[in-house]
Symmetry: C2
C-alpha cells in the first residue's frame, strides 16, 4: 500500500488520554460512508471504552482477554463455531434473535440457533427417518404449520436437527461421512410435516475448548436440556429459528445457552393416541409422539413490528437517531 | 464430562427476553468464585447486551461480526498479533495503558505497545548497532533515565525496536532468521544508554488482514507516523512502554493507533552538536542524533496513583463497589 494523500478534514488525534480517547476514535470512524456501520462503531467503541474505564481493566487482564479470543478463533472451523458458542453462553445470541425476530402474541417464539446447524442435510419425505442411531428411543414427530389467521402453510422448507442418543451431533464425530440426525422436509397442503427421530437427550455443549474452560471458571455447568432444533423458511414469511424442549428435563431452568421458553416446552405422548397414525406411517405401538403446531409470521408482519420496535428504541436514544429499513442510524 | 448434580440455588433461567436476559446472565455468572472476574463479566455482559439493544443489532450483522472475529483469530500466530492490532485501531490499547500505568506529572508518558514486540531480541552494549539496514539513514540515539527526583537510574533493562527503512519490522519478513532492528540494552551508572539505529519512517500497519479491511471500510488510513519503541523494566519501577515520534511527520496527528503524545515528539539534531560524542562512539560527522531523557515512576508511586484513581472510579460506580489491590470488585 503506497502512501496516501491525507484528507484535510481529519480530526487531530494527539495527546489522547482516558478522558478524550473515545470521542476522538469516534471522530475518525465517523468518516465511514456506511451510515449503519458508522452508528454501530460509535456504539461499539463507546461501550468497549466504558467497559475498560468502569472496570479499570488492567494490562494483564486485557492481554488474557485477547489471548482467549485468539484461542476461540483458532479452534473454529467449518463445523465448530466456537464464537457462536461464546455468544450463546453470554446470552447475546438469544438477545439478538429476540431483537431481530420480533413475534406478535400467539405466534411461535424463536430461540438460539446454536453452533450445530449445517447446510448439508438431505431432503426426506414426510414420515421418513431422520435419526439412524439404533440406541436412541424412537420418537415420531408430527407437526403443523399455520399462519396468524390459523390457515395451514404448505411448501415451507423445514430444517430439523438433533443429537444422537449420546448427546452428540453428527458433526462432533471426526469420522463423519454423511449427515445424521438432521434433515430437510417440506410441509404438505395441510401445513403438515412428520418424521421419525429419537427422543432428545440433555447434552453438554463442547467443553474441551476455550468456551468450556470459561464456563468452568464462571462456576457454570455446560448442559443444555433435551431439545430438537427447527428452522422454517418460506418466501414471504419471516425465518423462524426455534427448538422444542422436553418438560421436566433436569436442565429445564438452567440451560447453558438460555434458550428455554415455556411456550416451546412439550409433553411427549404415544403414537397410539392419534387415530390412524400407526397404520399410516407403520409405527410400533409403543412409540412416543411429539406433536406441535407452529405459527409463522409473514415478512410484512415481522417488518412492521421490527420497524415499530426500532422507532421505540430510536425515541429512547434521542433526537440524533433515525430508522431506515428497520435499522437505527445517526441522523 | 458426566452429568453433574445441580446446585439448588441456581437462578431460574426460562422465558428470557430482550428485557430480562441481562440480569439473568449476570445472575448465573455471579456464582463465579473469583470476585474480580465476576465483576468484569457483570460489566462485560451489561455493555455487550446494551450495545445489541441500543443498536438493535441484526442477525446478519451479528453473524458478520462473529465471522470477522474468527478471521482475526485465525490469522494470528506467534509473530502476528491481529487481536492486539484490532485493540490498537479501536483505541482500546491506548486507553488500557493509560488506566493501568497512571503517570504523575513530569514523568514520561506511556503509549501503545503495538503488535511487533518480540522476546528474542539480543543484548547489545552501549553505543552498538541495533539496526543493520544499509538503506536506512544512520541515527545515533543517546538517552538518559532518571527517577522523579532527578537521580539517574542505572541497570534498567531497555527493549528498543523499530522498522527497517521500508517500514517493516523484522518479523514481517517470512524468511526472518534472527532479530534485526531490535535489541536489549542496560543503562549505566549515569542512567545513560546509547545505540546506533536508523531514522524511523512512517509505515502502514499490516493491511492485508481483517483489521486492514476494517480500516478501509471505516474510510481510515492505516499509517503510523515515524517512531521508535522503548520498553523499560527494573525491579521497583513501574514498567514503561512508550515510543518517541519525529516532529512534522505527515501522520503526526492521524496515527492509526492513536499513540502520539506531544511530550513524546522529538526533533533530531546532529551528533556534532554534543561535544566529544563523535569521537567516543566513532560516528560520522553528518550523523543524525536523537536525544531524550526518560523519567521512570517507582512501583510505589504507580501503585499509590492507581489505587487513588481506582477509588475515584469506585466512588463514581456507587456503593456496591470496593477496591482490592488497586482493582475494582463488587462488594
Amino acid at each position: 500500500m503506497s502512501e496516501q494523500k491525507l484528507p484535510t478534514d481529519l480530526p487531530l488525534l494527539k495527546d489522547l488520554n482516558i478522558g478524550n480517547i473515545t470521542e476522538n476514535v469516534n471522530a475518525i470512524n465517523s468518516r465511514c460512508e456506511d451510515a449503519r456501520m458508522k452508528f454501530l462503531f460509535e456504539k461499539l467503541v463507546t461501550h468497549l471504552h466504558n467497559f475498560a474505564r468502569e472496570t479499570r481493566l488492567s494490562i494483564p487482564e486485557w492481554a488474557a482477554a485477547l489471548r482467549f479470543l485468539v484461542e476461540v478463533g483458532q479452534i473454529s472451523n467449518d463445523v465448530r463455531h466456537e464464537f457462536i458458542l461464546l455468544s450463546d453462553v453470554l446470552g447475546l445470541s438469544l438477545l439478538v434473535d429476540a431483537i431481530d425476530h420480533p413475534k406478535p402474541p400467539n405466534t411461535t417464539e424463536g430461540t438460539v440457533l446454536g453452533p450445530f446447524h449445517t447446510t448439508d442435510a438431505q431432503h426426506v419425505e414426510s414420515g421418513e427417518q431422520v435419526s439412524f442411531d439404533p440406541n436412541g428411543e424412537p420418537l415420531f414427530v408430527l407437526c403443523f404449520i399455520k399462519d396468524t389467521n390459523g390457515r395451514p402453510i404448505p411448501n415451507v422448507c423445514i430444517d430439523v436437527w438433533e443429537t444422537d442418543s449420546k448427546g452428540f451431533y453428527d458433526v462432533q464425530y471426526e469420522n463423519r461421512s454423511s449427515p445424521d440426525g438432521r434433515a430437510i422436509l417440506t410441509s404438505d397442503q395441510d401445513g403438515m410435516f412428520a418424521f421419525k427421530a429419537i427422543v432428545p437427550v440433555p447434552y453438554p455443549i463442547p467443553s474441551d475448548g476455550p468456551v468450556g474452560k470459561l464456563l468452568e471458571k464462571l462456576n457454570r455447568h455446560c448442559y443444555r436440556p433435551s431439545h430438537m432444533h427447527f428452522m422454517f423458511k418460506k418466501q414471504g414469511y419471516s425465518q423462524l429459528i426455534t427448538a422444542l424442549y422436553l418438560r421436566n428435563d433436569p436442565y429445564e431452568t438452567s440451560d447453558a445457552v438460555f434458550g428455554v421458553k415455556e411456550s416451546l416446552i412439550v409433553d411427549l405422548h404415544q403414537v397410539s393416541d392419534v387415530e390412524g397414525l400407526r397404520e399410516k406411517y407403520d409405527l410400533a405401538s409403543d412409540m412416543k409422539l411429539l406433536e406441535y403446531e407452529f405459527v409463522l409470521v409473514t415478512d410484512e408482519e415481522s417488518d412492521c413490528l421490527r420497524e415499530e420496535e426500532a422507532r421505540r428504541q430510536a425515541m429512547k436514544e434521542g433526537a440524533n437517531i433515525k430508522v431506515v429499513n428497520g435499522l437505527l442510524i445517526s441522523k
